[in-house]
């Protein structure tokens, strides 16, 4: 399953870049969590994720955005895809969009605590950037709780 490693590493890269500055402002935050695509993800979607990974590593976020949107059109109920899109938005500093997408991912995630925790981190970062410190702390607490489970 080489592609999983590829994709995870690409989106980890995204995660690192986005969370660096925020982690200074939100002490105690561990952003090094990443999420692999759901087991049932189709090869059609994987092929797009691979292209999105390439676009991301090349810094072409606009192209990555289009490719990731194609994935959620094909599998609208795949929580990990909404998560990638949320992470990309965070990286693009489109914070309110990131929050909505992370919530959508959480809504579909069921019992994948790892994914849900990472989504709460995205929400925490975004809320902090939007000036909602209390909301950020609440979200971060949720992430932490899930992490400890």
């Amino acid at each position: 399953m080489k592609w999983i490693i590829y994709i995870v590493s690409a989106f980890t890269l995204l995660g690192c870049a986005t969370t660096k500055q925020a982690s200074v402002q939100l002490p105690g935050e561990d952003p090094q969590q990443t999420v692999a695509p759901d087991k049932n993800t189709s090869s059609a979607v994987i092929s797009l994720l691979e292209k999105a990974r390439d676009a991301t590593t090349q810094g072409d976020y606009q192209r990555a955005e289009v490719l990731l949107e194609r994935t959620v059109r094909i599998e609208p109920r795949n929580a990990s895809l909404w998560h990638y899109l949320a992470k990309l938005r965070l990286h693009q500093a489109r914070f309110s969009e990131a929050i909505g997408l992370a919530q959508k991912s959480n809504n579909l995630a069921r019992s994948n605590n790892h994914l849900i925790a990472d989504n709460w981190r995205i929400i925490a970062h975004s809320k902090y950037q939007l000036g909602d410190v209390a909301g950020a702390q609440a979200a971060q607490a949720k992430a932490k709780n899930l992490g400890n489970q």
Binding site: I46, R63, R73, P76
Partner: protein, 824 residues
């Protein structure tokens, strides 16, 4: 510059020519009468001056004092200035028209992958919409072959926003209604995902309604310019924009015939004439035309001019749409791209140049045939074609497609939606001239299906109710999660580009408001759940105008103490008003706004029964939020806009915002599913597969003026409105009107069922809708409903099929339901 040709060809007659220069070419279009009056004038002038000489010397002196040279010089300068002005005008037109590219509007591209649910027939329809040609052995891009469930296709290359897709030979195999494999037939490799080129669904044209499809000379069969030159302007490649000999020839022919039989206009002159679209035959206009023609010829290559001519010439009328140019005409008349035209078809189009209405293919087919044959004869005469080819072509009929208007794909309501979304960014002039490529969310197959269903159902209902042409309808269909609009119709005649009711008919929504009222109640979960009882008894309230308002139920009965679920599925008005008053307007308004309501709801009682006016599009937004589990997304019709060089200009991203708690949405949706199972929309359950759960609400306004249905599956949300522009009573309720059409559409399209989700915050239980007590799946009238965790009823009732209504129909339906449940 304008004088160049005459001077060169007639060096000896310079003086006399100069006098007549301006007028000479104009004579061609004039009859002999004009000529006579012209020469009379000249001799009259001469005799007059002679008389003046004899009678009065002072006049002679007066004339002598006039500075003739200066006057002539001034006249000459004015003429030069005017020529420069005309030159400027015609070059402007030429450049504008040359580059005035209407925006091209594309449907969503079809993405193919293993496991995709798609009917093989719908796939073939998509290929046909894309103008893929059937071929026994597909070898070129744009060809396909179908053998049962197996398609062989050579895809076309296409540049999208993200990736440039190249052409490849593929094989797509269907099994049932799913794609089972996609392979590249060249390297035999499996293809994970394949995106076809998108269907071109229309363009955005300038206000003059000129429609054209620009082609470059390279796309045009070589024979076409040859035919044009041979028939319209033999000396095209030699003259200077005008052809005095041809003019003279035409002039003589016209005198002989006693009427205007020949034009004598060059291709360049005809082009100028088309630029200014005026048919008046005045000397002055002819004068302008000549100067402009010469000026064009001076500035541009012959190939530029003939290419402009091929794109510009007027070739027909399709309602308000003027068909310009051979590129569009070949698609309009022959339903094929210009490069595929044969000699017969080219000769037919060239025949239309002289007068698309005089040679109208439907009204005057014999005239057109005769003109085509004359053109073919002319081609033999000019040695453009052989005698053999002439005979063979003449034997062919004129094969213009008969259902042209429906053949041209136009979706005015959808284009209207796109323009509105774009108008915020681009002015109309930019849309119609800059060659933007607009990638929309339209599903062309669904759009065509919806159009057809609207036409059929409205016609049928109008006939039944004696409503004639007055019954109208509007439909919006969108993907629920992405909120992408995939189809829209705004008139019972979907091709009619008039009033777009889907966007502009703001009508009272009636009971479509009820889910908003009930959702606001259910949000107070400590107080209300589906099993809670409310009073359905008569109520009188003070209306806004101080009169007394007494809402009635549709059946004019009161039903006493009923559960929320019964009041909702049976759409009881009295119970709803009582519930709404108890919940309060501020709470209802908050829910309404969270769902995407465009305004604040006014706080008066009739609002609780849907006195609020909304358009079908606005209603779709409200129900989209429910369909997407409480995640509101603004309805979108555009994904991307590229400029003429394929550079990205603007994206409309997927945005989601959680505006209603998902658990609550689950609760309300469980009730809305019951509306389609045993409530006012239960007729749907007989039409749809038993496992396809659908949620929705009917709406009927006072005196059956509006008939609504808003509903959603697990993947699509759709809203249908029926009524009249005159606000007449139609006799159609939500279920006897709009619901029928909604069912027509949703039995046709590919959609997935709505699943009730058992999440941590939700408790799903079987409940007796009459008593509100817990029940079992096996009990006759029990319903499966969602409750916010901890609020479900705890007491169990007796298992019995006690009837909530007394009608035989009700009992019959329940029995059917019961059987269905058992045998599922």
């Amino acid at each position: 510059m304008a004088r160049r040709p005459t001077r060169k060809r007639n060096p000896k007659k310079k003086a006399s020519r100069r006098v007549n220069k301006a007028r000479k070419p104009a004579k061609s279009s004039k009859t002999s009468k004009t000529k006579k009056t012209g020469s009379n004038k000249k001799s009259g002038k001469a005799s007059k001056s002679r008389k003046a000489k004899q009678s009065d010397n002072s006049i002679v002196n007066f004339f002598k004092r006039i500075p003739w040279r200066r006057l002539i010089l001034a006249g000459f300068l004015i003429f030069v200035a005017y020529t420069v002005y005309l030159d400027f005008v015609v070059r402007g037109q030429f450049e504008d028209k040359r580059w005035a590219l209407p925006a091209q509007v594309y449907a969503r591209p079809l993405e193919l992958y293993e496991g995709l649910t798609l009917k093989a027939n719908d796939f073939e329809r998509e290929l046909n919409l894309l103008n893929y040609r059937y071929a026994y052995d597909p070898t070129e891009a744009g060809m396909f072959q179908r053998y049962g469930n197996k398609f062989k296709i050579v895809t076309r290359p296409f540049t999208f926003w993200d990736v440039k897709e190249s052409s490849q030979p593929i094989e797509v195999v269907f099994s049932g209604d799913q794609i089972s494999s996609i392979k590249n037939t060249h390297n035999k490799k499996e293809i994970a995902l394949l995106r076809l080129d998108p269907v071109l669904v229309g363009g955005i044209y300038p206000l003059k309604k000129e429609d054209r499809k620009l082609v470059s000379l390279n796309d045009v069969p070589e024979l076409l310019p040859e035919i044009l030159v041979a028939i319209e302007d033999r000396k095209f490649y030699d003259h200077y924009g005008i052809d005095p000999l041809a003019i003279a020839r035409a002039f003589i022919a016209n005198i002989r015939a006693g009427k205007s039989v020949q034009g004598g206009s060059t291709i360049t002159q005809q082009l100028v004439k088309n630029f200014f679209l005026s048919n008046e035959r005045t000397l002055w206009r002819k004068f302008n035309e000549v100067i402009m023609a010469v000026s064009l010829d001076f500035h541009y290559e012959k190939n530029d001019i003939i290419q402009a001519y091929i794109n510009e010439i007027y070739l027909g009328q399709d309602g308000a749409r003027a068909i310009h140019g051979f590129g569009l005409a070949s698609e309009y008349y022959f339903a094929k791209p210009i490069h595929q035209l044969d000699l017969n078809q080219m000769a037919t189009l060239v025949a239309l140049i002289r007068g698309p209405s005089y040679y109208h293919p439907d009204k005057h087919p014999n005239r057109l045939l005769a003109r085509r044959d004359r053109i073919l004869d002319g081609l033999l005469e000019q040695k453009v074609i052989s005698a053999d080819l002439l005979t063979r072509t003449k034997a062919l009929p004129i094969n213009i497609v008969s259902n042209r208007q429906t053949g041209s794909r136009q979706h005015p309501a959808f284009l209207n939606l796109i323009k509105r979304q774009l108008r915020e960014l681009y002015p109309e002039s930019k849309l119609s001239s800059e060659g933007l490529r607009i990638f929309t969310t339209m599903n062309p197959v669904v759009q065509l299906d919806v159009e057809q269903r609207v036409k059929q159902r409205v016609e049928k209902l109008a006939k039944q109710r004696g409503l004639g042409k007055k019954l109208q309808s509007a439909v919006v269909i969108a993907n629920s999660t992405s909120a992408e609009v995939i189809a829209m119709v705004g008139d019972r005649n979907p091709r009619f580009a008039g009033f777009n009711r889907a966007l502009d008919a703001s009508r009272p929504i009636g009971s479509l408001i009820k889910p908003v009222v009930y959702l606001a109640a259910l949000e107070q979960s400590e107080k209300y759940n589906w099993a809670s009882k409310i009073d359905d008894k008569s109520i009188s309230l003070k209306a806004r105008d101080e009169s007394i308002w007494t809402p009635m139920n549709y059946d004019r009965q009161s039903h006493g103490s009923v559960t929320l679920i019964t009041a909702m599925t049976k759409s009881y008005n009295q119970a709803t008003v009582r519930l709404g008053l108890d919940v309060g307007f501020p709470a209802i308004n908050k829910t309404y706004k969270n769902l995407g309501g465009p305004n604040d709801l006014p706080a008066y009682p009739a609002i609780l029964l849907g006195a609020q006016n909304l358009t079908p599009f606005q209603v779709t937004q409200l129900y989209q939020t429910l369909a997407a589990n409480g995640f509101r997304s603004p309805l979108r019709s555009i994904r991307e806009v590229l400029d003429v060089d394929d550079q990205p200009l603007k994206r409309y991203p997927i945005k989601v915002k959680q505006s209603i708690n998902s658990d609550l949405v689950n609760v309300i949706n469980s009730g809305l599913i019951q509306v389609t199972k045993q409530g006012t929309a239960r007729s749907l359950s007989n039409r749809l597969p038993a496992d396809l759960h659908v949620a929705g609400k009917t709406g009927t306004t006072n005196d059956t003026r509006d008939s609504w249905f808003a509903g959603f599956t697990g993947s699509h949300v759709g809203v249908v409105w029926m009524g009249t522009d005159e606000n007449l009573s139609t006799g159609l309720t939500g279920s006897s009107g709009a619901l029928k059409l909604w069912g027509d559409i949703f039995t046709q399209i590919n959609t997935t069922g709505l699943a009730l989700e058992q999440t941590d915050g939700v408790d799903i239980q079987w409940v007796d809708p009459e008593t509100g007590l817990l029940s079992k799946a096996s009990c006759g009238n029990s319903l499966q409903l969602a409750f916010i965790d901890g609020t479900a009823p705890t007491e169990s009732g007796e298992c019995q099929g006690a009837s909530t209504g007394s009608g035989i129909r009700d009992r019959f339906d329940r029995t059917v339901e019961w059987f269905k449940r058992i045998f599922r």
